[in-house]
Symmetry: C2
Subunit: 229 residues, 2 copies
């Protein structure tokens, strides 16, 4: 627990985030989930009406998302959701792979035992989700695992970068379904990764994570080819 205020229970620090922050989260989510389609024009006026705010925070938000690569600007012609070609998505995977591999390697060196234990717990939860066939739950735990590895890496640069790269990869998830075979494979890969981290074998962890991303991409390619509807 981070804050303590007297003996009162459930005192939680009130937080009032700036509008651009809140807006960025919502728009980011909408883009990643595909609710805003690639290439779709983003009208500032429309957004103002939807969110009930003025153009200033909207414009600041769009600048942020633009830097993150989710939104593109055309001179005097406003913003649009960045188009992603299949190539763009494929490009994102090796980069993500390199970064996650590094995170894993560093985590082997820097993780606390508590963090490694927690990884084990999450892994079990994830397997439970798999057995239950709960895809949404699986993805949630999966993200928590990657997040924990990231934290354990104790590197201040990685989070920002991975965040910047992951958006495209996460977009991909919403464009093609996870096949059952691939799902089982992924679970198995995670099992190995966990073992490698527990053994604090940096090189192995690194290689496994890179392969994990490569396999993810291969599965995605296949799913795309089959899903020509």
């Amino acid at each position: 627990m981070r804050h303590r205020a007297g003996s009162a229970a459930n005192i939680v620090p009130i937080e009032r985030r700036p509008l651009h922050d809140e807006l960025a989260d919502q728009l980011r989510r909408a883009i990643i989930h595909g609710e805003l389609r690639p290439g779709a024009k983003i009208s500032e006026k429309d957004l103002c009406e939807q969110f009930g705010v003025s153009r200033t925070p909207i414009r600041e938000t769009l600048k942020i998302l633009s830097t993150e690569g989710l939104v593109s600007f055309a001179q005097n012609r406003g913003a649009s959701v960045t188009e992603v070609t299949a190539q763009d998505i494929m490009d994102a995977f090796p980069v993500m792979g390199a970064l996650e591999a590094l995170a894993g390697e560093l985590a082997c060196a820097n993780a606390t035992q508590a963090q490694i234990d927690r990884l084990g717990v999450l892994q079990s939860k994830m397997v439970a989700m798999f057995k239950r066939g709960d895809r949404r739950g699986y993805f949630r735990i999966n993200e928590q695992i990657h997040q924990l590895i990231l934290e354990a890496s104790c590197n201040s640069t990685l989070p920002r970068l991975i965040r910047a790269a992951s958006a495209q990869v996460r977009r991909a998830r919403y464009m093609a379904n996870l096949s059952n075979e691939r799902w089982a494979e992924a679970i198995e890969e995670h099992e190995q990764i966990l073992k490698a981290i527990e053994a604090r074998d940096g090189k192995l962890t690194s290689r496994l994570l890179r392969n994990h991303l490569t396999n993810k991409l291969e599965a995605l390619k296949k799913a795309f080819l089959e899903q020509v509807d």
Copy 2:
């Protein structure tokens, strides 16, 4: 020549960049060069007066730099130049190393022969700068080389990410001087990297680039320890 307008000579498309673009470039440079010190408060009003623009584009610019990690915001307390601890800078190097290594590996697979030839030319120029003792010129060519490798990698995600990571690394350059010994070493390393790319040996290129960054960091650490003034 990209445009042709009748027979008139030297007709060049006029370009008017948005203010936030121009501003971002200038502020980014100022921060990287250390003209704006880490931790320094950034007053919007002051910037308005300095640049002769209103607060709107200034604020958009600050949001951009904030996403890039160069500027930090405190709730209702405005922006300041992001503090970098020695640890932060050290953290940036392995990340940068992983990304550059990937860029090199991909470049080996995807570079055109023309690009590789051009790398050779740049390498010669860089050696010339070294022999002349022209540090500024050296850094300029050095950046062009890394830029070219990046282009040759034909990956759409890498440029944005490397850009995001490189700022910290480039900041470091302005905080400690390049020793003559390290300079000579770096030239030699570049020579090897070039050879590996010419041989299109992806694995080797990758390893050399990662080491290059590691050595850069080691040299930096040493320079810092000596420079206790």
